[in-house]
């Protein structure tokens, strides 16, 4: 149990996906304009991350490793993730239209989200067990949410700031992101033994 807790805190703070491992930056910068959109996006990411970790782990354990097909990892994982996302989208659109309205718009964005495939490749590298990799996915999703909401608050305050002409839009967001990521460097020394 202690081991799971270490993974949870590790993936959420020490190895925060967005701010230290640089995974999932595209949606992070793209959708953090408003906190409401940020919430919707992070909900979708956590949901898909947990599901995809479970399915990719099973695919890896029972399909790839027995037949010594490690080099097929990338293609299998991304195929699984793309199919999973599309499946979730169609199901959500039919069964829970309201949830789809707030959450579903971001689902196609997640297929191309580096964090999802990144976390799948990481659990292979560290050969986590099934439960560990799902917890890792969940923690990574939480880390993503934490960073996204934190950052969308910052960005909303940026709206009223007085920014030089060339810096308007994306440059000032990137500089703000660098300051936020400095705070997460502080967690680097945290060793959870």
């Amino acid at each position: 149990m202690k081991e799971l807790f270490a993974i949870l805190i590790g993936a959420m703070l020490v190895e925060n996906f967005v701010l230290t491992k640089f995974l999932g930056i595209c949606p992070f910068l793209g959708v953090s304009k408003k906190t409401s959109t940020a919430l919707g996006m992070s909900g979708a990411v956590v949901f898909v991350l947990v599901l995809s970790q479970a399915v990719t782990w099973l695919a890896n354990e029972y399909l790839l490793v027995p037949n010594k097909l490690e080099y097929l990892q990338t293609i299998t994982f991304i195929l699984v993730i793309a199919a999973l996302v599309q499946f979730v989208e169609t199901v959500l659109k039919k069964l829970m239209p309201s949830l789809y309205k707030s959450l579903g718009v971001y689902l196609p964005l997640i297929t191309t989200n580096c964090a999802v495939l990144g976390s799948a490749l990481i659990f292979v590298e560290r050969d986590y067990t099934f439960v560990e990799s799902v917890v890792f996915g969940f923690a990574a999703g939480l880390g993503f949410t934490l960073a996204l909401i934190l950052f969308s608050g910052v960005r909303e305050r940026l709206e009223t700031a007085d920014i030089p002409e060339a810096f308007k839009g994306m440059p000032i967001t990137l500089i703000a992101a660098s300051l936020v990521s400095i705070t997460f460097i502080g967690f680097a020394g945290l060793i959870i033994s």
């Binding site: 190895e15 080099y71 097929l72 293609i75 195929l79 680097a188 020394g189 060793i191 033994s193």
Partner: protein, 196 residues
Amino acid sequence: MFKEIIKPSLILFLVCAIMTGALAYVNSVTKPIIDENNIIAEQESLKNVYNDADNFLDAKTAEELKSEGIDVGDNIEKIYTAQKDGQSVGYVVAVFSSGYGGQMKILVGIDNDLNIEGVSLTNHNETPGLGANAADPKFTDQFLGKAPETTYNVVKSVPNNENEIQAITAATVTSKAVTKGVDEAVALVRLMAGGA
């Protein structure tokens, strides 16, 4: 019914089949080269921790050692036997240790009568410029020579006796991690050399 369900799945099946076919072909071509590269790289890394050995038997993993009844620390990954013109003169131990930036792998070359031939960090993600300095010889050469009966201890100031290792400034966590790894390797070899 056909158009809706069978056609898309057939096309996806075909696309996957063709693509994986190409992939498998490329893999079958590159596989031997990659394995060769890996072996060369491995031999090289072993060589630079134990340079007067001329070949290394393939490694025994921790499980194999356990089955032989040797009580192996849980950080040990595997152990190679080093040979010099035919006889085994020592070992190279691959051991894990958790440093500042997470897990790192250390190779330690030790000969039969327990003096250390070389230490090197193979893969780590310590902070560049700080913890990463543990990888260069200035720090690792301190381990060369006779291994102490007890363990090393890491000091901040200039070491005054054989068993003390000077930590890298602002990277004590990394220095301690490397030292702990070397201690575990020495303990294992003491067991193996003593026993074998």
